[in-house]
């Protein structure tokens, strides 16, 4: 490349580092958010019309009326299987249909009958089944309360912030109908009530008359301009809002993606958390600005209960959080405690979306595990990735040509560092035409891929969802001729500026378009592709360099719907269509691997995500932990941050620390910006090469455990990377911790993320529990802050006493090379000399585990001085060549002998070593196949 730089970036950047906030809207600059936020808590104008109540086997319906403008809403309440309640509110008779999010729920959630417990003129009480849970519908003003016993778990509209901007016809003058008054100052005269009900109140023409005096014309209802972009808003105002109160709750989490702490902050006095998929250039940490993805799911947690709120809406959304304890000092809280202050802590949350309907799933827990299962039952679980995708990925914008790829590949072998995937960014294409190759730099892609395949390695190429408008480009021509492009408000193909220059944006919301897109990944369509080539979807917010807020115009059309209605869903569809393409090309046999930057609720079903374009700064290393923890809580386990930082060049220390941290995060990929100096692991001197090699090797050795965790994430929706409170829900000390985390239940990781650190203080949870340093086997007691002196080689990781973790100690060039290698079991005994663990094995890359039950799932238990392996999945069958090489028992005492018993009745003595200083017993070479039953008895 010559001095020509990425002109686009050069064009839109200022020279200073940091996000250009002026490119993105604040709530005040987003007309609907401003209107809604101006509405303050108070008496709700909504009233439930109890006489309209209908109760069927599956749901309760009820009309609501806004006494200010007489517009009626329809409320639907469902009791869902698995302790969930669904609340849907739409206009009773909308002028035209309002958008309801499709393709996110994996099915129509199965319901359970609601039964009416009591009813009077003030409301109704419904039973939510067991646990004395009740749902109370109050009529005037309308509100919902979910109770368990005498305790209110959650209330809706208790602050009166339910607001529904009904669809209306635009008047020519500035006197358009604005029936919804966003101010509560006016109280509707009582006497109109009956009259209203006899009218079919929602004919807008009729409602108009009475409502007129309340009408208020506000800017931005029918048109809104931000910077140079005008949003035409042909449907006028359509926003919705609802408040939730959570008594007894001080901690809320989730609603990614934000570069912020794990525990969400109160937003009073600042902007709300924003959910709107955006390509944010050089984002800053610790603020509520929107980023690339949006998952409108919030978890609430207290020592008593964990719950979740899933706001199923794909439009631009803002979330306000306030808390009656947030502003209080520790002293103030103490004082409350001492004085027995009657005020219980409470968190209030308010959701505001630009269009669509209110469709909320309230997941009632009560445990974190329950909430994960509940959410998984709605939107599905993490796609089970090919095992190799859990290994190390080497990426850079860009590996320049085939020779470069070969040289980097060889570099890993020369320095004995394993890797599984090498990635090609946009420069590999012929002029940013995806599905093609630069004819000079990559003239023989299959030779290159075969070279990687020969080393049992893989490649990822980038395929972005913007298509160069070029009549000599097959992909463009087909999309255009099939009418698959998103349309502009005027009906022509929507065009915007992105990497290739002028680009079209395929309408991924169209199932036919997705099917066609998927077919493009067939080996005979995507020329030069092979089975060891996978896909990366970047820029799928979508990014439109010259669009408003660097994304698509909200009035662009996806069929009948505006981008406004489904904006946050676009990225999910892109990843889905691509994943389906990879499945199809293998005839449905192989598991796909697709990385995407934008995502929505349900994206976990299609692959991995990463935290986008971060920077080589210590703060960005730190924030990678809460960012991935937040995603894990809402279903997306396969998360990672660019190791080393994308923008700028890391110091050697930062790079090493980032490898050490990334090695213990789910998606482990190094990536770097085009303008940064090269940073392959061996470019920083032999000492640093050795440090990075060691970090990567620790990752590879632990792959069996990672794979097992992902199997569970896929199977039951439990996150892989977990905040401590998930496993220690009563330990308040853990509630806001986000500088350390758990992998599964059994490994606690406290990465070193401070420059020049001499030590870290890790919190080891669990009263009466013990933790073992995985490197030294040193035992530590739980429920303590442990100061750990660190050197540049330290990666503080602890194994929970009571767990058994399998590793493969023979680290090879790639994970595929380790397929048949034996296992070493690390048995960490609890103080009661007990331990339990699992092992999951399958072929590592096909769907046969699911379709043909071809897998091994073992339970290891240590109790009464005997360690045994039992089958957890008797219905399954799979043969492995792997065997048990070594058993390391931590916290053991010295036995006189160790006897291995196999099901054929044979017994043999095992040699062992005992390290008395650390109480570590090592059993030499049990040699049993990992798929078989066996027992080792210690005497």
């Amino acid at each position: 490349m010559g001095p020509l730089l990425v002109l686009w970036l050069a064009g839109c950047l200022s020279g200073t580092w940091a996000v250009d906030r002026g490119n993105f809207k604040t709530c005040d600059q987003s007309a609907f958010c401003k209107r809604q936020r101006a509405l303050k808590p108070g008496q709700s104008p909504y009233r439930a019309l109890l006489e309209t109540l209908e109760l069927t086997n599956t749901k309760l319906t009820l009309q609501l009326i806004n006494d200010n403008n007489k517009v009626r809403l329809l409320l639907e309440l469902y009791r869902l299987q698995g302790n969930m309640t669904r609340v849907k509110i739409n206009e009773l008779k909308p002028l035209k249909p309002r958008f309801e999010v499709p393709d996110v729920l994996i099915n129509d959630p199965p319901t359970e009958p609601l039964s009416l417990l009591s009813r009077d003129e003030n409301g109704v009480v419904l039973s939510l089944g067991a646990d004395s849970q009740r749902l109370i519908v109050s009529a005037k003003p309308f509100r919902l309360d979910i109770m368990e016993g005498r305790e209110v778990l959650l209330s809706l509209n208790s602050r009166g912030l339910l607001a529904f901007e009904h669809l209306r016809i635009r008047k020519d003058t500035c006197q358009e109908v604005m029936s919804l008054s966003l101010s509560h100052s006016k109280v509707d005269p009582e006497g109109t009530e009956n009259k209203e009900e006899t009218e079919a109140a929602n004919e807008p023409a009729e409602g108009e008359e009475e409502a007129k005096e309340d009408e208020k014309v506000e800017d931005g209802m029918w048109e809104e301009t931000f910077k140079s972009h005008t949003d035409s808003k042909p449907n006028g105002p359509s926003s919705i809002s609802l408040d939730f109160s959570l008594p007894g709750v001080e901690n809320v989490y989730g609603i990614p993606e934000h570069a912020d702490s794990l525990k969400l902050k109160a937003t009073d006095g600042g902007d709300p958390y924003r959910l709107f998929n955006l390509d944010v250039f050089q984002y800053e940490v610790f603020n509520p600005m929107a980023l690339y993805g949006a998952i409108p799911v919030m978890l609430s947690h207290s020592a008593q209960r964990t719950m979740g709120i899933f706001w199923l809406n794909a439009a631009e959304t803002w979330v306000d959080i306030s808390s009656n304890t947030a502003g209080k000092t520790v002293f103030g809280q103490m004082l409350d405690y001492v004085q027995g202050s009657s005020e219980t802590p409470q968190t209030d949350v308010r959701w505001i979306s630009e269009s669509g309907i209110i469709d909320v799933f309230i997941m009632l827990g009560p445990t974190p595990t329950d909430v994960f299962s509940q959410y998984a039952s709605l939107t599905g679980t993490q796609a089970f990735p090919p095992l190799s995708a859990l290994a190390y990925h080497q990426c850079r914008w860009n590996y320049n040509d085939q020779e470069d790829v070969a040289a980097v590949d060889q570099g890993f072998d020369d320095h004995d560092i394993p890797y599984d995937f090498i990635w090609l960014d946009i420069e590999h294409t012929d002029g940013k035409r995806y599905f093609t190759w630069d004819p000079h730099k990559f003239p023989q892609p299959k030779d290159m891929l075969q070279g990687l395949l020969d080393k049992r390695r893989k490649m990822v190429t980038i395929v972005d969802p913007h298509i160069k408008v070029d009549s000599s480009y097959k992909i463009h021509n087909e999309i255009r001729s099939k009418g698959f492009y998103v349309k502009s408000k005027d009906g022509g193909d929507y065009e915007g500026w992105c990497w290739p220059g002028n680009s079209g944006y395929p309408d991924f919301t169209n199932p036919e378009m997705r099917a066609w897109w998927a077919s493009m990944f067939a080996y005979d369509q995507y020329e030069g592709s092979m089975e060891n080539m996978y896909t990366w979807n970047d820029m799928n917010e979508p990014s439109v360099f010259n669009g408003p807020e660097v994304t698509m115009h909200k009035d662009a059309l996806h069929g009948n719907w505006e981008n406004r209605d489904l904006h946050n869903l676009y990225g999910l569809y892109v990843q889905r269509a691509t994943a389906e393409g990879l499945i199809e090309r293998s005839g449905g046999v192989e598991r796909p691997f697709v990385l995407a930057r934008a995502f929505f609720a349900g994206s976990q079903r299609y692959g991995a995500v990463w935290t986008g374009d971060n920077a080589a700064e210590w703060e960005h290393l730190k924030i990678s932990i809460p960012m991935c923890l937040s995603l894990g809580l809402v279903g997306v386990s396969f998360c990672g941050a660019d190791v080393g930082g994308f923008f700028k060049s890391p110091s050697t220390e930062l790079l090493v620390r980032w490898y050490q941290t990334g090695a213990y995060q789910p998606f482990f990929r190094a990536h770097a910006h085009l303008d940064t100096p090269r940073r392959e692991p061996w470019l920083f001197g032999p000492e640093n090469t050795a440090l990075i090699r060691e970090a990567v090797r620790q990752r590879y050795a632990l792959l069996p455990y990672w794979y097992q965790l992902f199997y569970h994430a896929h199977h039951s929706g439990q996150p892989v990377m977990r905040p401590l409170w998930v496993e220690y829900p009563q330990d308040t000390a853990t509630f806001s911790m986000d500088d350390q985390f758990l992998l599964g239940r059994d490994l606690l990781v406290h990465p070193v993320t401070e420059e020049g650190a001499r030590g870290v203080t890790a919190y080891l949870p669990g009263k009466g529990e013990v933790w073992f340093d995985v490197h030294t086997f040193q035992k530590h007691n739980g429920a303590q802050n442990l100061y750990i002196p660190v050197t540049i080689s330290s990666i503080p990781v602890f194994q929970r006493g009571g767990s058994i973790i399998s590793r493969k100690a023979r680290v090879r060039r790639s994970s595929s090379c380790m397929e048949h290698d034996p296992y070493t079991l690390f048995v960490a005994l609890s103080p009661k000399r007990f331990a339990q663990g699992e092992l999951y094995i399958d072929d590592g890359h096909t769907f046969n585990f699911d379709k043909q039950k071809q897998f091994i799932h073992r339970r290891f238990s240590f109790a009464n001085n005997a360690l045994s392996s039992r089958n957890l999945a008797p219905g399954s069958q799979f043969t492995t060549f792997s065997w048990v090489e070594k058993i390391v028992i931590l916290g053991a005492s010295k036995p006189s002998k160790a006897t291995l018993k196999t099901p054929d009745g044979k017994e043999s003595q095992l040699e062992f070593e005992f390290d008395a200083s650390m109480s570590v017993l090592t059993l030499r070479k049990p040699g049993v196949n990992a798929g078989l039953d066996w027992t080792v008895v210690l005497q």
């Binding site: 490349m1 010559g2 001095p3 730089l5 050069a10 020279g15 320049n400 470069d404 004995d416 000079h440 020969d454 080393k455 049992r456 085009l674 303008d675 940064t676 100096p677 090269r678 100690a809 023979r810 680290v811 090879r812 060039r813 595929s816 090379c817 380790m818 048949h820 290698d821 034996p822 060549f881 065997w883 048990v884 090489e885 070594k886 030499r924 070479k925 049990p926 040699g927 049993v928 196949n929 078989l932």
Partner: protein, 533 residues
């Protein structure tokens, strides 16, 4: 793939369930040189002495020794290594982790004895190819090395020439210095009488001028008196003088009676003789009644033209322009400087000269003129000598710079000095001017980019002259200044063979030259040397 898998199944079937490795006859993966440590049926002591194990635990697919020495033939030890004999090629050690990983690493296939990988023994083929390429390399090296000797010879001669020229210059410098000193004395000797004569001439002219001026003043005074004495009574009165507002001492626009009286020395009127004293006080301001307009301002001469002329010289000093030419560029430059000085016409003429326009000095008398001419000649001679000396100095400086350059241990790289080599790619023309700069120019229009200026030799310690580093090139947007690393390899010809940009704005250039060819060992030695690895 499926075929390989089948093989895998059959070969591993034996292993399954027991976990023991396939039986082998003798310690696998042990090099000949270490065979003595692996004595069958005797306890094996780890090579680091850390422990002793029964011999049947050697290569039993379980790592017992900390140094990995008990498992030379299996992948059990993380730090082990495996020796392949590679008959027909050269033996090699590979990390233990590459044993039975399904990838053929040893050309004799011995590393994949139990993975199902179908490896072909390629040692003979590889050996043949290697010998061929070594042969080719050896020939290149041989010829290259011969060329190198020539280069060294030429460099030596060149160096000697330069040294000789330098000595010569040093000699002529001395002569010139002597000459210059002599001429300086001559100049001084000639200039002293010149100065005296000129001063004398000037002084007499000044005296003469003063006389003329006084004469003129008297005339003006008389004229003024007559002009002022309106009533021709032979006296200038207060009233008569009062009409001359320009004489107002406080410049307030009015000439009062008192003020006028003051001008007249307190008297009411003055006669011709007293007016003499009054006149000296007012003559500078006095305006003759006949010509009351102030004199037109003196036009300043235009300097721009001469400046333009000077600056023209600066436009083309880019090193590029002389890179291909022979040496004495700097001399040229200095010559230019001289010319500049001389071509600059004398600037502004002295204003005095103008004022007394009509009073031009009479020409020097013959005697003085002879002295002046003599001095001017002495000056010219001196300047000439000084210029010659400066020229010699410049030449010496260039030579010293060139002689001082690090052209390698035997100055074998000297021939690259002031040469340039180009490589044309699909987009750019790259240009390497060794010891000077690297640049890149788009093929289809656009300006040239500086990819770095000569920095230093940057090879590894044992081979310093294998890499050149050029840095401080044009700055990159949001990035460092461009820089280029030039890797030198042995070749018969001096050519840039490839360029790349492995990292943004960090260029890599491959360059072949005979100057890096090492003395070739005989082909046998080469091959033998390799077998020992």
């Amino acid at each position: 793939m499926s075929c390989a898998l089948l093989l895998l199944l059959t070969s591993l079937a034996l292993v399954m369930g027991t976990g023991t490795a396939v039986e082998i006859q003798r310690p696998r993966g042990v090099p000949q040189s270490k065979r003595q440590f692996y004595e069958e049926n005797k306890p094996f002591t780890c090579l680091d002495g850390s422990s002793t194990i029964p011999f049947d635990q050697v290569n039993d697919d379980y790592c017992d020794c900390r140094d990995g020495s008990d498992e030379p033939g299996t992948a059990a030890c993380p730090n082990g290594s495996f020796h392949c004999t590679n008959a027909g090629f050269r033996p090699a050690f590979i990390p233990s982790s590459r044993i039975n990983d399904g990838i053929c690493d040893c050309c004799d296939t011995t590393d994949e004895y139990n993975s199902g990988a179908t490896c072909q023994n390629t040692c003979r083929e590889m050996g043949r190819k290697e010998r061929e390429s070594l042969q080719i390399m050896a020939e290149i090296t041989k010829e290259g090395f011969l060329l190198k000797q020539q280069l060294i010879h030429e460099a030596k001669r060149g160096q000697e020439d330069k040294q000789g020229k330098l000595t010569e210059l040093q000699g002529s410098k001395k002569g010139l210095e002597g000459k210059m000193e002599a001429l300086r004395t001559v100049k001084k000797t000639a200039e002293d009488p010149e100065k005296e004569a000129k001063e004398r001439h000037l002084k007499s002219w000044e005296e003469q001028k003063e006389l003329i001026r006084m004469e003129k003043d008297k005339t003006r005074m008389a004229e003024a008196f007559l002009e002022l004495d309106d009533d021709a009574d032979g006296y200038v009165s207060v009233a008569e003088l009062q009409s001359h507002l320009e004489l107002d001492p406080d410049s307030d626009g009015s000439l009062t009676e008192t003020e006028t009286q003051g001008l007249l020395g307190g008297a009411g009127k003055v006669d011709t003789s007293t007016f003499e004293t009054v006149w000296s006080g007012i003559k500078d301001k006095y305006l003759s009644e006949g010509l009351s307009d102030p004199p037109a301002p003196v036009e300043t001469p235009k300097e721009e033209e001469s400046r333009d002329f000077v600056s023209d010289h600066d436009s083309d000093h880019y090193p590029e322009d002389y890179a291909g030419e022979e040496e004495d560029v700097e001399d040229d430059e200095e010559d230019d400087d001289h010319e500049e000085e001389e071509k600059v016409p004398p600037t502004v003429q002295t204003p005095e000269k103008r004022e007394d326009d009509e009073l031009s000095m009479p020409p020097y008398d013959t005697e003085t003129q002879i002295l002046i001419d003599a001095a001017q000649k002495a000056r010219d001679d001196f300047d000439e000598a000084e210029r010659a000396l400066r020229e010699v100095d410049g030449q010496m400086k260039n030579l010293e710079k060139e002689i001082g350059f690090d052209f390698g241990p035997s100055a074998e790289f000297a021939y690259l000095y002031s040469q340039c080599y180009e490589l044309s790619t699909s987009e750019y023309i790259y240009r390497l001017c060794p010891f000077n700069r690297v640049s890149q120019k788009p093929k289809f229009g656009g300006s040239e980019t500086n990819l770095g200026l000569w920095g230093q030799w940057a090879g590894p310690e044992e081979n310093l002259y294998s890499v050149m580093k050029y840095d401080h090139g044009q700055g990159c947007w949001q990035g460092p200044n461009r820089s280029t690393t030039v890797k030198l390899t042995c070749g018969k010809e001096t050519v840039v063979t490839s360029t790349s940009e492995p990292s943004r704005c960090e260029y890599l250039m491959e360059f072949t030259t005979p100057a890096v060819c090492q003395e070739p060992a005989s082909l046998d030695e080469v091959l033998h040397g390799h077998t020992e690895l």
